[in-house]
């Protein structure tokens, strides 16, 4: 009778192949792969290895070709789009630079502005303009726009004074015309202003030296700022010239109220940092009302010749001031 210990020993002998049963199992005829199967499997493996080697060689060859320039078309196609975009941008910037650089807005012209710029209202920019203008200003001045702001403000105000005098009221909304129309109108307005102010400066008095305290670099920044402002939003000087008879001076409080925060900041800076020359020139020229009173006083004093001279000067400085029609005819009729 077998015991549990005998079973373990028998099982261990079975596993080790030392018993009768395992011997019988080992003597069983076993199947074996045929020679044809052996050859087929070995040939299959050899072919697979050869195919892999061929693929590797092809990959290496492709890499070599790429290094030797054989795959240049792919590289060209990969760089074609960025190069095209870069060339387009370059062309656009060049055309824009050329277009803007040829306009009569040099700082020399600013120096010939009439002395009435002290009373010129600061134009209220369009509501959408300040942010873009500030951004462009920052980029144009290299992030250091705080220092030259007063100078730029004066120059801008001086340049826009005659135009604002002709404009009936500043438009608070953006112009419906495009950026090119805006620029064209600005150029036209500046050309008109330039003609008038040059005549006035040559006939009446020497030009106010506004540009004297302004450094060239600051002037360049001011010009850049003006360009950016034009591009960003239409200015109020683009108002319809048919309504040029209106008094723009009386609209100054409204424009100031409508000015955006950046514009108000610029106004504050300009008023706190006005150059001495500008203050002096403003003191030399009286206001239109005072000037008219002085002319009336000269007439009362029986000095028609001097009154006529003052009247001529007045018209030079305030060409669009709404003088009473009767008073205008009376002054125009003064003898030479």
């Amino acid at each position: 009778m077998s015991q549990p210990g005998d079973d373990d020993r028998d099982f261990a002998a079975f596993l080790a192949g030392d018993d009768e049963l395992s011997a019988m199992l080992q003597q069983l005829p076993q199947p074996a792969p045929s020679a044809a199967l052996d050859q087929a499997i070995l040939a299959q493996a050899a072919a697979a290895v050869a195919g892999k080697a061929a693929n590797d060689n092809a990959a290496v060859q492709a890499a070599n070709d790429e290094q030797a320039g054989g795959v240049q078309p792919y590289r060209r196609s990969r760089w074609a789009a960025p190069l095209g975009v870069a060339a387009s941008l370059l062309l656009t910037v060049g055309v824009a630079w050329h277009w803007m650089g040829g306009k009569p807005e040099a700082p020399v012209i600013l120096a010939q502005e009439p002395v009435a710029e002290a009373q010129a209202p600061v134009p209220a920019a369009a509501p959408a303009a300040p942010a873009a203008a500030d951004a462009l200003k920052e980029s144009a001045t290299g992030g250091n726009a705080a220092a030259p702001q007063p100078v730029r403000k004066q120059q801008e105000a001086a340049r826009q004074a005659p135009q604002l005098a002709r404009a009936p009221a500043p438009k608070t909304g953006p112009e419906s015309s495009g950026g090119h129309d805006v620029a064209r109108k600005v150029q036209q307005a500046e050309a008109d202003k330039h003609d008038k102010t040059e005549v006035a400066a040559a006939a009446v008095e020497p030009p106010v030296q506004l540009a004297a305290p302004v450094a060239p670099a600051a002037e360049q920044q001011a010009v850049g700022e003006l360009k950016a402002r034009r591009d960003a939003a239409p200015a109020p000087v683009l108002a319809d010239r048919a309504a040029a008879g209106a008094n723009s001076i009386h609209t100054e409080p409204a424009k100031a109220a409508a000015a955006p925060p950046a514009e108000a900041r610029l106004r504050a800076l300009s008023t706190t940092a006005k150059p001495a020359a500008r203050q002096a020139s403003a003191a030399e020229v009286p206001t239109a009302e005072e000037w008219l009173k002085q002319i009336d006083a000269l007439l009362h004093d029986n000095q028609p010749q001097k009154a006529r001279e003052e009247w001529q000067r007045f018209k030079q400085h305030y060409p669009d001031y709404p003088v009473d029609e009767a008073q205008r005819k009376r002054l125009d009729a003064l003898p030479q």
């Binding site: 199992l25 080992q26 003597q27 005829p29 076993q30 199967l37 070995l42 299959q44 080697a53």
Partner: protein, 220 residues
């Protein structure tokens, strides 16, 4: 008592390929299965030849004993070696190479069994095409004399019939351990069972085979 090799399949390794240089053959013979497989990954066909020499017979026996149809054996064997090549690039030395190779063949067999389950059920009665019938025919052909041939034929037939009646899991463990020379640990890894479970399956298989042989002997 004569000392026998524990792994009988190693006794019947095929001859080396005559085209293989002796120096290269000797170098490969010293390498482990895993090292040979890594060399094969890098395109060493001779390494594959050495692996095939070592494991082709054991794998073929395993497939033949586990396959329900004789005409599947060559196909499964060839597919298994082909799959080994396809998976060579992903091969990592984690388990033994033999376990890896047998796992491929086992999965292929399982796939075939699932695909042809209904067909196999209808052929259950006829054993003409079974690998066991082929083994019987092989046993008949190997007999030397008429007396010994008759005795060996009877014993082989009894043993083969007894193996054929074993449950599939016990038969698999028996074939892997006795015919393919796998250790209990390797069988556990291959079949996904615990080592003690494998041991129990082998113990039950041994007991059933002994009982069948004893019964047949008493009947004779």
């Amino acid at each position: 008592m004569t000392e026998r090799c524990l792994y009988p399949q190693h006794d019947a390794l095929p001859e080396q390929s005559p085209a293989k240089p002796a120096r290269l053959r000797g170098m490969h013979a010293e390498l482990s299965d895993e090292s040979l497989m890594q060399r094969y990954q890098h395109g060493d066909v001779a390494a594959f030849g050495e692996l095939y020499r070592r494991h082709s017979h054991g794998l073929y026996r395993f497939i033949a004993w586990q396959s329900p149809r004789a005409d599947w054996v060559d196909e499964v064997a060839q597919d298994s070696w082909a799959s080994l090549h396809k998976a060579a690039e992903r091969y990592e030395v984690q388990a033994s190479f033999r376990t890896y190779l047998y796992q491929i063949a086992r999965n292929r067999l399982i796939d075939l069994l699932r695909q042809h389950q209904s067909l196999l059920a209808s052929e259950l009665g006829g054993a003409e095409d079974s690998p066991h019938a082929a083994l019987e025919r092989l046993g008949e052909a190997s007999a030397d004399t008429p007396e010994t041939a008759l005795a060996e034929k009877q014993r082989a037939a009894q043993l083969q019939a007894a193996i054929g009646t074993l449950p599939a899991e016990q038969r698999e463990a028996l074939v892997l351990q006795q015919f393919s020379g796998m250790s209990l640990e390797e069988i556990a890894v291959l079949t996904g069972a615990a080592q003690e479970t494998v041991k129990s399956r082998l113990r039950y298989a041994m007991q059933k085979l002994r009982a069948a042989l004893t019964y047949e002997g008493e009947q004779a």
